[in-house]
Symmetry: C2
Subunit: 305 residues, 2 copies
């Protein structure tokens, strides 16, 4: 089968139009990969579509290959079918530190290792649909309230030992949730603090998920610069100090509180004052805000280069 799949095309020698059971099975697989198939005679006992020009003698085929005559121009290079998956990098802030949701794999390969939640695309779904569904299934989070953003597609031929599986990574930002987790699936989902050891130590994460996580983190950091997405980490109402701590957790650097205050208050549409205040801790009570309509932060929030 591997030899067949690595060929440029398939030529079926079927005297009398007869095709064996095994050949029929192989043809099904070949067909599904979109490879070019030619027949010595029209197949009689299987309902296969035979496009014009694909039934020809070996002589004609050879000529077509050598001369590239117009009759055989349909010889296509081999294609590879792949199983698309969607993996989700969902960040949140717990104890003012950045966390990512990871599951412990219950099956081979990489059984017992940590992995990003995700799964295979299903009939009629786009990858965005898949990501939303998996997020809901594996975390119990209401996916409609958490916007997903496509990051990157990973397609290295050996990235998954099970075969040709390409994955598209999505980024999501969640507010700090009260321990809702591990909803439907048997494997445990849990928040893990984001730190270098997650990807520097190759043993902890399955597949190429270390690389994916790293790139997603870079994207998230850049998003904070020129969008108002940081508010997604917070609850419905939040103080400016809470918002600042989001930036500090994601960027990993301290931010000057007075200047931060002026920056976000001065950006029209970022914050809407609720008029309420937050008490219960020492210090002057902080004003509480909700998200404004602005999504783009202009001019951007600078982080010292």
């Amino acid at each position: 089968m591997e030899k067949i799949f690595s060929s440029d095309f398939v030529y079926v020698v079927n005297p009398g139009g007869y095709i064996g059971r095994t050949t029929a099975y192989e043809l099904g697989r070949v067909h599904e990969r979109g490879m070019a198939v030619y027949y010595a005679e029209p197949p009689k006992d299987i309902p296969i579509e035979v496009p014009a020009g694909t039934v020809l003698t070996a002589r004609e085929l050879a000529d077509g290959i050598v001369c590239g005559t117009s009759r055989i121009k349909a010889i296509r290079r081999p294609r590879v079918a792949a199983l698309p998956t969607a993996d989700i990098v969902i960040f949140t802030i717990r104890d003012w530190r950045l966390h990512v949701l990871l599951i412990k794999r219950g099956t081979e390969p990489y059984r017992g290792k940590l992995a990003l939640p995700g799964g295979f695309i299903r009939p009629g779904e786009s990858l965005e649909d898949t990501a939303k569904r998996e997020l809901a299934e594996e975390t119990g989070l209401d996916s409609s309230s958490i916007p997903l953003q496509q990051i990157h597609t990973y397609s290295h031929p050996e990235r998954d030992p099970r075969g040709r599986i390409i994955t598209t990574a999505f980024l999501a930002i969640a507010p700090n949730l009260p321990e809702v987790m591990g909803a439907t699936d048997a494997h445990r989902a849990d928040w893990v603090e984001v730190e270098d050891s997650l990807w520097l130590n190759n043993d902890r994460l399955a597949f190429d998920h270390g690389e994916i996580l790293q790139q997603a983190l870079g994207r998230a950091r850049r998003l904070l610069e020129h969008t108002t997405i940081a508010a997604d980490f917070c609850g419905k109402v939040f103080t400016i100090a809470e918002l600042r701590k989001v930036y500090e957790a994601v960027w990993g650097i301290p931010i000057n509180p007075p200047n931060f205050q002026r920056k976000v208050r001065g950006t029209k549409g970022f914050l809407i004052d609720t008029g309420k205040k937050k008490t219960g801790q020492p210090g002057r009570p902080a004003e509480l805000f909700r998200r404004g309509p602005a999504r783009i932060l202009y001019p951007p929030m600078m982080r010292s280069e």
Copy 2:
């Protein structure tokens, strides 16, 4: 076949282990999609792998579905195999206007319409490899000198009438080239000026390539803001005015020349003075520069919001 593919799993009723030719063909296709398959009896006359727990009676199967007992836990949700492709949005500047490379499709579907260059992934390739190869094949451009950047993956189930084909779009920037085009393929490749009519008029571009082009343009515009990629549009040596015209062409707005001059000269590592000057036109001769090592533009180039 469509009904089969949209099912959750396949149950093969094969008395005596006998499987017909047509069924064998269909099983090949089903197998290639990675769907779950169960058998009433072990298949005898086809070399199909039958994992443990997939041969069971209809009664057992029904129980497994209803109760979710451990024996049947292997029922997987249906997966969908897809044919991945890479499409390339390659921009250049001609006559100080932004152009994109498009090919005229020579085959159905969308025969005669304009489309982005691209093609199917091949065995052993990553999508990045595919994009590089297709760029070289379809344009004759030396792909090693033109960096490709992944933009987005398009996976809507009906985006391609031929079936489940998902495409990953890549962005490339080329200097103005002396008409090297349409290298190997029969269909013509040509530079087309980028303007709204390309995507507003749905008839001109094939598939969802209008949407892809639009998103790639947005990405390119944003890249000019905070990277030095604009120099990729220019030749090996260029003047500051040429660089400014790149920004004007991509952003579609005029830029104040003196301020632009100061901005790029003041960004360390952006430009390296060659000491030479450009003559042959009226006006003070312009200094010629080559690209510096800097890739990030900090602080970013602002475009009035």
